[in-house]
């Protein structure tokens, strides 16, 4: 059969963010593909060096529309490390709670997209409906559904009132019930399993070669999670269950994300029940002493790394952001061979792309 090349992107119903692929196919078989990136490059790393640290927190919030909080958290951790200040325990707990809620809403969003790509629109609608519960919490405590503006250098910008804590507990309880329903669908729905099981499996060796992190690595049996391996407080006081699967296929990635959602909800409840009292923030000086620092956090998609160099002024001399999506994207051409055309959406959805993160 003749080889033809089909474009996927920059505009395609499959993609929520611009990415360009040319995929060679013969009939319904995929032969290979090439990737082109950079459609949402905004030069944020350069912009960050032209703004003060205080302004940078708001700039960095806009790197990603899904995991915005973990970006600002990692940046603030870097600046706080250079300043040598310590965030009060209550501030740390609120930060961690927002991180976990973000993971819940990111994973549910992703699950909906995967379901839509395999033609299971009902699960898409239900997952996004449940996701609203997590967004409601975040909007209730911070005022923003997507960009929460929760972090500032030295702590968080808001405190939780007892009514808010009750609201969070109620919504987390509802979410737990919904997530167990979703888990039931993933484990037992035969058509979903037929579409995802055994699709483009990735071996642990390949994952190590490409430095892939996060749920994709864990789905191939690599036991890595920064919340346990390199924790910042309060994660060092929490007992995080790291979930791994040996299969490495799209179904294992689906299951892992659903199980992680449940784990995040459990952590949320622990954080809420153990939350200390006291201030949520300390005052931070405008100018940051000279030095360089690296901080890492576990974002919903894997490790986020910030490198920050200060020259002693109130603006960073250099900021480097490494997001998990870029590593996963490099693995994409490896996966786009020996599959069916109908598997392309499953492979693409399975790695949970965040192009805005990758391009910055």
């Amino acid at each position: 059969m003749d080889k033809i090349s089909i474009p996927i992107g920059p505009h395609h119903p499959l993609l929520k963010e611009p990415l360009s692929m040319r995929i060679d196919i013969a009939g319904e078989r995929v032969l290979g593909g090439t990737l082109r990136l950079g459609y949402v490059h905004r030069g944020i790393e350069k912009m960050a060096t032209q703004r003060t640290y205080v302004q940078d927190v708001h700039l960095i919030e806009r790197i990603c529309g899904i995991c915005s909080h973990v970006h600002t958290t990692t940046f603030c951790l870097a600046v706080e490390k250079l300043l040598g200040i310590e965030v009060p325990p209550r501030g740390q707990y609120i930060r961690a709670m927002m991180c976990e809620l973000e993971r819940v809403h990111s994973h549910l969003l992703w699950l909906g997209i995967l379901a839509k790509h395999v033609g299971l629109e009902t699960v898409f609608m239900h997952a996004w409906h449940d996701r609203e519960l997590a967004l409601d919490i975040m909007e209730g405590v911070s005022g923003g559904r997507v960009s929460h503006a929760a972090n500032q250098i030295g702590g968080v910008r808001f405190d939780l009132s007892p009514e808010q804590v009750a609201m969070i507990k109620e919504n987390v309880e509802k979410l737990k019930a919904q997530v167990s329903g979703v888990l039931d669908v993933i484990e037992n729905e035969p058509a979903l399993r037929a579409r995802t099981q055994g699709v483009a499996p990735v071996s642990a060796d390949l994952i190590r070669d490409y430095c892939v992190v996060g749920p994709v690595a864990r789905a191939s049996g690599i036991d890595v999670d920064l919340r346990r391996d390199d924790p910042w407080p309060p994660y060092d006081q929490l007992d995080v269950n790291v979930i791994t699967r040996p299969e490495g296929d799209a179904w294992a990635r689906t299951l892992i994300r659903a199980l992680e959602t449940r784990e995040s909800l459990r952590l949320c409840e622990i954080l809420l029940s153990q939350m200390p009292v006291g201030p949520v923030t300390v005052r931070a000086p405008r100018k940051v002493p000279e030095g360089e620092v690296v901080t890492r956090s576990e974002a919903p998609r894997g490790e986020v790394l910030y490198y920050l160099r200060s020259d002693g002024s109130d603006k960073p001399a250099r900021l480097k952001v490494r997001t998990p999506t870029l590593a996963v994207l490099s693995l994409l051409p490896e996966q786009l061979s020996k599959i069916h055309v109908a598997d392309i959406p499953v492979v693409l959805a399975g790695i949970d792309l965040c192009i805005a993160c990758a391009d910055r």
């Binding site: 499959l14 839509k116 009902t122 037929a194 069916h340 109908a342």
Partner: protein, 308 residues
């Protein structure tokens, strides 16, 4: 003459089928929305969509066959409308004759072939992919569907839908004797209508819009009309073949029962699209030839043995 025109244009022809098509689309969308925790569109939405499409600019890529692309949906529409004329609607059959079941099957296949040609004639890369997929799908569902619907014909000893339908008055509805056949026929119908979960030729995340990717304006509007009328005709056909209660002697009751049965069919179709994930084309071919065909033959053999 006047009566003939009335049959063709008003009832059970053009106007009736198109109105039923709108009703089907609305009920289907509303049901699906309720399954998915949405509210769903108001009753006039299908009509509003069609009017909007007809008022839109009609664009085709350079090199597409404009005339062919206009004729394909029109030919498909006339084929499914003609098929609809031969199917009894609550006992009313102006044009029935022996062997019309085969004619209906032939006419119902015309949109699939036209869909494939539309993919070729509109020269888009996704259109060609979608067109190829629609043929692959056709070969997967059509054979089991044909074997299955010959079950009621064999049982009634006639190839006329009206005969099959009315013979159920004395023998009892065929869904009781052929439950397996009914399920297979529904699967075949879903494949024929290219509906979720067998919307492989038009899966948006894979081939954008399938054969109709490049269509816009009135031509796309006609295609939507074809899909809806085809669904209505398919539902009428299955109700007549398997649920013969509509042939009650009391005419008003016949209409009511027929309506309820049709709504039940819509519920089955909407439920299937809400519950199942889309299959891959190779999985569908495997399902069609390895599972559906043997089951259909089993059902047919059972029917023949029962008749002996």
């Amino acid at each position: 003459m006047i009566r003939g025109l009335f049959y063709l244009l008003i009832f059970p022809g053009l106007a009736f089928q198109v109105v039923c098509g709108f009703a089907f689309e609305w009920i289907d969308r509303k049901l699906l929305a309720r399954f998915q925790r949405r509210i769903g569109p108001p009753w006039y939405q299908p009509l509003a969509d069609l009017i909007k499409l007809f008022s839109k600019e009609d664009l085709l890529p350079l090199g597409a066959y404009d005339f062919v692309d206009l004729m394909l949906p029109l030919i498909s529409l006339s084929a499914v409308l003609t098929a609809g004329l031969y199917i009894p609607i609550a006992r009313f059959t102006p044009f029935s004759f022996e062997g019309d079941l085969i004619v209906i099957q032939f006419l119902m296949s015309v949109p699939t072939l036209a869909y494939y040609l539309a993919g070729i004639a509109s020269v888009g890369i996704y259109s060609i992919l979608g067109g190829g997929r629609s043929l692959l799908q056709y070969f997967s569902y059509e054979v089991p569907l044909l074997i299955t619907i010959s079950g009621p014909a064999v049982m009634a000893g006639s190839w006329s839908v009206a005969e099959i339908s009315s013979s159920q008055l004395t023998m009892g509805p065929f869904i009781i004797f052929q439950p397996l056949g009914f399920i297979l026929a529904v699967v075949g119908l879903i494949g024929k209508l290219k509906r979720d979960p067998l919307d492989i030729p038009s899966a948006s995340s894979e081939v954008v819009g399938g054969s109709l990717t490049e269509f816009s304006g009135a031509k796309l509007g006609f295609w939507h009309l074809v899909m809806n009328v085809q669904a209505v005709v398919g539902i009428f056909l299955l109700v007549n073949l398997y649920m013969g209660w509509s042939n009650l002697t009391f005419p008003f009751a016949a209409i009511l029962v027929f309506l309820v049965e049709c709504l039940l069919m819509v519920l089955i179709l909407s439920g299937a699209s809400a519950v199942f994930a889309r299959l891959r084309i190779d999985q569908l071919a495997g399902l069609g030839w390895r599972i559906l065909v043997p089951l259909a033959l089993l059902q047919l053999g059972f029917v023949i043995l029962m008749g002996v």
